[in-house]
Amino acid sequence: MSDIQRVLVAGGGIVAWSAAAALKRRLPMLDVLVISSPPPEDSLADRLGNTLPSIAEFHSDLGLSDEDTIVRAQSGFRFGSLFSGWGGERADYVHAYGSYGASVGGVPFHQLWLREGHPISYDSFSLGSELGRAEKFANAGMPEVQIGYGLRLNVDRYCELIRAYALHLGASERTGGVVEVERRDDGFIVAAILADGARVGADLFVDCTGPGARIRSRIDHEFEAWSKWLLCDRVSMTRDREESLLDEIAATPNGWTSKCAAAFSSAHGSGEGLLLSQGRLAKPWVRNCVAIGDAAVLVEPLEWTNLHLAHSQIDRLVSMMPGADCAPVELAEYNRQCNAEADRVRDFICMHYVTARRSEPFWKDASSVELPDSLQHSMSLFAERGRLPYYEEETFTRDSWLAVLFGQGSYPRRVDPLAFALPSEQVESTLSACRESIASFAASQPSYREFISQLGQRAPA
């Protein structure tokens, strides 16, 4: 069985350079050539700087330190998002990473909170929410309540950093776009033809060229559209960076907006924005060509999953590298995992709309879509007894799902019987002790601005 030796990575943004760096770092025996061109303006994973906490793991697999990725790249931090207007007249709520409360005797925290009649808001039991609202920073949580933070990348600086790192690891670069591919009779790609007419051969083609998927699209166009579930079909991005720890995501009459990005439905109103066809490729990897990032999955940036999905795909690409024949049995497992992951992100995003409480036509339509089976399954178990079924390859934790569901005023019909195994006084005191320890821990932390300015002093000019 012969091995893959030459890998061609097409694209020139964060995704392509991250793929090149990961391949060279973790499979240094490969020859990695990046055919670079500026990422298209609609490539969300390349152009949005907000990340999920999972980026820390990606960096550690790459051998990149916080000194590199935070101090030198001048990244900020984020604990989550603050949703305003999604619950209609209801108060704003925070979806923060990390845990909400702490379970007692095997009974999940939220069931205890429900049993007490949800006396105060669910996000009061999240340390990330508490810190974020108070603009205080901590890089570790308490033993019983964890926090998680994502980064706010300075996109240009970060892209330069990851490019330099990939080159340092031995990746090579050639500028220019891929205009044509040369294929064998069996459909495998033999070479890419560049704008200047040059012909570049490789064993594996990694397409990180954004929504257009310039290489992968030559093989097939099988795309699973999500438009019947996610009505936003336009997206816009700014180059502004949110300065606080929480991104405010405000509902608008036909979508949502934030400091860095917005999305809306053009069928429900007008606005400025790029076309966004949400969905995913039926098979991200076919023969010797794999699509990564927006080339594989297109989803609105409501929960900042675009770069996360790209990282996760890159990680799979490294750990599931097949032989040069790209055997269907190996690709099938790769595709199965990627698709399962993308579909659950879709479900999570869709859940925001179906539980929102607004009366404009867009919101009425968005909340009354017929759900995908897997989301229907989650929603009906939640509605019955506050249970959320486990799915393989799930990006968001149960706490994340609950933060949004409770934040938007969705409650189950009944409390799980297990919550009644504990005496009421114990539940009550657990809740108030948890609330108090979060508040006092948060109060003792430094302000975020102070923390960031100290970091800034360590950064090279």
């Binding site: 750990s319 055997a327 049995v329 190996e330 497992e333 995992q337 509605a383 007894r385 019987p417 297990l418």
Partner: protein, 504 residues
Amino acid sequence: MEGEEKVKVIVVGGGTAGWMTAAALTKLLPTRCDVTLVESEAIGIVGVGEATLPHIRGFNERLGINEAEFMAATRATFKLGIEFRDWARKGDSYIHPFGAFGRGQGDVDFHHYWSRLREAGADVAPIGDYSMAVTMAYANRFALPDPDPAKVESTFNYAYQFDATLFAPFLRSIAEGQGANRIEGRIVDVELDGETGDVDALKLESGERIAGDLFIDCSGFVSLVIGKTLAEPFEDWSKWLPCDRAVAMPCRTETALTPYTSASAMDAGWRWRIPLQHRTGNGYVYSSDFTSDDEARAAIVAAVEGEPIAEPRVLKFKAGRRTRSWVRNCVAVGLASGFLEPLESTSIYLIQAAITALVELFPEREISPIDRDEFNRLIDLEYDRIRDFLILHYHATERADTPFWDYVRTMSVPDTLQEKIDLFRRRGRLVKYREGVFLDASWVAVYTGQRVVPEGHDRRADLPPMDGLVRGAAALRDEIREKAGRMPDHRAHIERYCPMAEAA
């Protein structure tokens, strides 16, 4: 909510399933249900499931059971895995351990490095030599796992081999202490509601009528409520798992007390050997299409190593499960819901899985179809995955020396399994899932033990220089051997920790 009426639960049948259910419900949902168990002393229990999986420890812990007391009461021994003899070829043997190969750490699973060494023709031992659990098992040693994950003595897990006929009474006293009611009596009829079709009550021989809201069918193979009364169809899996009988015969323990169960391939099935403190359980699981009861009886009598302490006893069964385990207001737990042969000691695990799902989805008096459907989905997943894992043992063989082995070798297997095998053969990869009883190391053990050899390995395993890898593997093997050598003998550990009461 606080004042909600309790659900009246009727457990149909004692035995392991019945008393495990009663003990768990009374412990975990004391304010939500009243539990009544109906059993008849005149009906025996099957009680073949003497060997368990490590999950049982979590169950016992949740019930607050003291390990040493439990082990003394059930005359239990420790179990580090299962030894398979003669499966892929006559003369082969391997152990499926409860634990990792290598140190169980790092990005790349140990078996990829092992494959690389093998492919390169380097000096490499069978993969079991790099497993703490396997090495301890073959050396008859036992100590509890070290809590420090950096140490190789932390890389194993364990279960028990115990006398199932003693486990039920042990649980009974716990369940009764927690408020479970027990009614002695033979059930002669199950009454259904004429309108809804739900189960209303059990009628006993004495004329007594036991009404309830939720009926837990723990009646064993009889499947009294879900099968006989509610007529839930049975999905027959015998084309893949053709064994349909077992002949059991316990004997005295005359050889070493092994901290593992053995499963030796026989002409038309396989034979178990389960060492307990006071006796050794033996049995021959066979297919009646390929051998007769008399032949099987003769084979087990010839095979047991110690003085028999009972006549051989034949049991009949069929591999498969009820299409649904929860139908209307009846939940089947254990053999009433389905049967998979005890090759991987899953009987008690399946009972536990059903109880866990029931506790997590415990209904109100009025049952929601959402809870019921989710329960059935979870149980199906458990059964289907175990089914595939069991079929692998038969199918991954080169044996053609008897009609039975030739049949299982050449039969077509479920697509879900064929994909797993093909993927492993390519490059040693495992179909990834986190939920399920047998995870990566178990599949690796059976594949490698049964000659499903990967053609390649993970490319990341090519990174360390070959000589360093050879030295590292040898050092790991030595360290494991040395650590195992310092552990106490299995029997000595038991005699100190949990000896059974004398004069049984």
